[in-house]
Symmetry: C2
Subunit: 340 residues, 2 copies
C-alpha cells in the first residue's frame, strides 16, 4: 500500500499542531477551534485525501465502532435478512459488524466469542438459538455489552428481541380451526431451543382453547430432512392419516412435510393442510405456496442493533424485552377440511 496520509501530514500542511487538526475534524470538539482554521484544515484534509485511521483512534478511545454478530449458520435463510436489518441500523451510525457462525457448537461459539473480544468489539448481538448460558453470564460479569435475538433470555441478563411466537402459533391454529380442522399435528423443533418450547406450548394451549385434538411429534433439527423424517414416521405408522393439518415448527420442517406427503401420495392442501413458521425466502414459491407466520427478521435485526447501541451508550434499562408482532400469511397450503 501507498503510505497513507496521516493527521500529522495534514497538520504540517496547514501549519498547525496535530491536535488542532483532530479537533477541527471532530464534531464534538470543532467548537474549540476557530472557524477560519476549521475551514483551512477541512480544505487541506480533503485536498490531501486524508482518511482517519480507525485503528489508531480505536486504540486511544477504546471504541472500535465494530460489533460482533454471533449466529448458528448464515445459510439458514432467516439470518440474511436479520443481518441486513442490523447493518441498516448500524451503517448510518458509523458502526460495522463482524458476523461469525457457530454451527451450533458450543466450543466454536466459545472460540469465536474469544476472537471477537480480542478484536475489541464494542458489543455483541447473539442470535444462537440455544446459547451457552455460562458464556453469557461470564460475558456479563466482564462487563461486555450484548443483546440476545430470536431466543428466550431466561435468566440471561441482557436485553432481548424476539418475535411473538405464541401469538403466531395461536393464529395458525385458529386459522385451521376456522377451516374446519379438528385433528392437528405439531412438528416440534429440537429440544434445547427456546423457540421449540414456546411454539410447542402455544400449540398445546391453542388446541385446548379451541377444543381440538393436538398431537406433538418431535424432530431432531430445524431442517428439511428432519421434518421429512418425522412426517414419514407418522405416515408409515398408520394406515390412514389420523389428522388433517400440520403445524410445523418452522418453514424448513414444513418443506420436509411437503416432501413426505408427496412421497406418500398425499396432496396438500387437499389431503393435509400445512402451515409453517418464519415466512422465509421462497415461502411463496414452493408448491403449494406456504401458509406461514411471518417473523419480522429484518426488524428484529434493526431492533437488536438499536438496543445494543443504547446499551453501549448506557441509556438502556437492562433487562429490556422487545417482543415484535408476527402475522399469519395465508397462502395455498391450507384449505378447508374435506367432507369425509
Amino acid at each position: 500500500m501507498q503510505k497513507r496520509v496521516t493527521l500529522t501530514d495534514v497538520a504540517r500542511a496547514v501549519g498547525v499542531n496535530p491536535s488542532t487538526v483532530s479537533r477541527a475534524l471532530n464534531e464534538e470538539t470543532v467548537n474549540q477551534v476557530s472557524q477560519s482554521t476549521v475551514r483551512r484544515v477541512r480544505k487541506v484534509a480533503k485536498g490531501l485525501g486524508y482518511t482517519p485511521n480507525t485503528v489508531a483512534r480505536g486504540l486511544r478511545t477504546n471504541r472500535t465502532m465494530t460489533l460482533g454478530v454471533i449466529l448458528p449458520d448464515l445459510t439458514n435463510p432467516i439470518f440474511p435478512p436479520m443481518v441486513r436489518g442490523i447493518d441498516s441500523y448500524l451503517a448510518p451510525r458509523g458502526y460495522s459488524s463482524l458476523v461469525v457462525n457457530t454451527d451450533g457448537s458450543d466450543a466454536t461459539e466459545r472460540t469465536l466469542f474469544q476472537s471477537l473480544m480480542e478484536r475489541q468489539v464494542d458489543g455483541l448481538i447473539v442470535a444462537t438459538g440455544h446459547s451457552n448460558h455460562q458464556l453469557m453470564h461470564d460475558a456479563h460479569e466482564r462487563g461486555v455489552h450484548a443483546v440476545m435475538v430470536n431466543r428466550d433470555a431466561n435468566g440471561v441478563p441482557f436485553p432481548t428481541v424476539i418475535g411473538d411466537d405464541s401469538q403466531g402459533v395461536f393464529a395458525s391454529v385458529a386459522h385451521l380451526h376456522e377451516l374446519g380442522h379438528k385433528r392437528l399435528v405439531h412438528l416440534a423443533g429440537p429440544a434445547g431451543f427456546s423457540t421449540s418450547r414456546i411454539r410447542r406450548e402455544a400449540f398445546e394451549a391453542a388446541c385446548n382453547s379451541f377444543g381440538l385434538q393436538g398431537r406433538v411429534v418431535d424432530t431432531v433439527a430445524y431442517s428439511i430432512e428432519a421434518g421429512q423424517a418425522a412426517m414419514d414416521s407418522i405416515l408409515d405408522g398408520q394406515a390412514t392419516a389420523q389428522f388433517t393439518a400440520v403445524v410445523a415448527g418452522n418453514d424448513l420442517l414444513a418443506l420436509g412435510t411437503y416432501h413426505s406427503l408427496r412421497m406418500h401420495g398425499l396432496r396438500c392442501p387437499d389431503d393435509v393442510s400445512v402451515v409453517g413458521f418464519n415466512d422465509m425466502l421462497f415461502a411463496n414459491d414452493f408448491q403449494p405456496p406456504l401458509t406461514t407466520v411471518r417473523s419480522p427478521h429484518f426488524e428484529m435485526g434493526v431492533e437488536s442493533a438499536r438496543l445494543l447501541l443504547n446499551e453501549i451508550a448506557g441509556t438502556q434499562p437492562g433487562g429490556a424485552r422487545v417482543i415484535l408482532p408476527v402475522s399469519l400469511i395465508v397462502r395455498g397450503s391450507t384449505g378447508a377440511v374435506r367432507a369425509s
Copy 2:
C-alpha cells in the same frame, strides 16, 4: 467493561520487560526467549486471562487481520455459501471478514469502500457482479490488495475467481438436445453483468454447434419477478409456444418461469422444460425440482480467500484467473420433448 489485562500487567507479574512477554507469546519470536521464561510467561498469561489487543497490534504492525467483502445483497441465496466459504478459509488463519452490501448502487459501493479503507482492512474480496471499474483501478493504484469473484475481470488488474459458466450453459443445452428439444429460449440476465454476457454467448454458441434454434430474451434483473415478466411477455405474444425448453440465466429467473408457466396453464416439464443456473438453496425443493447448473459458491469463496491471502503475502502472480468447474444437476424440470 472491566479493565482488561495488558501485556504490561503480565510483564509485571512475571518480573520481566513487556517486550519479553511479547516475544514469548509470538510464534515468530519465541526462540529469542529462553524456554524457562517462555513457560513462566505462558503460565502467568493464562492465569491472568490475558488476551492480546488486536487494535494495538494492528496499529503497530499495520495489519488488522481483517478483510472486506463487498457484495450486492446478502439475501441473494448465492452469497451466504460464498461468505461461509471465505470464512472457512480465513478463520483458521486468524482473519475475520467485514461483509457489506451495495444493493447494486455505485454510490454506496464507493462509500463502503471508503469505510473499509478507514478500517484498515488488509484486503478486499469484491463480489459485485458489475463493478465500478474506476473504483477498482483507483484501488489498484493505491496499492490495495483485492480479488474479484463471480465476475469477469476484464481489464481489472486483480486476481479473479469465476465458475465455468460457458461450460455450464453448454452442458445445459447439450442435455436439452439429448432430450430431443429443438427450439430453445434463453432468459438472459440484465445487461452490465459479465455473467449475463458470458452465459448468453455460450447459449448462442451451443445452439449453433448443436444445430438448434435458440432465441434470446432479455430480463431487467436477476429476480423472480423479472423472470416471470419476461416469460409472460413471450407467452402472451403468441398463441402456441414456439419453444419447448427454457435456459434461464439463473435460478431466480427459472423460478419466475415456473410461475409464468403455471399462470398460463402450462406444465413443467411436460409442456416446457426448464433449466436454471447456480443450484441455489431449495433448488431441489421447488416443484418440479429444478434441473440446474451447480456453481461451487462455497469453493469460490474459499478460493478467493486463498488468492487474497497470497496476494497480501506477495506470493501471487497478479493477474491470476481461477476458473472453477461447474456441473449439471439433472432433476425434474427437464424431460423428453413430447411427440407432437
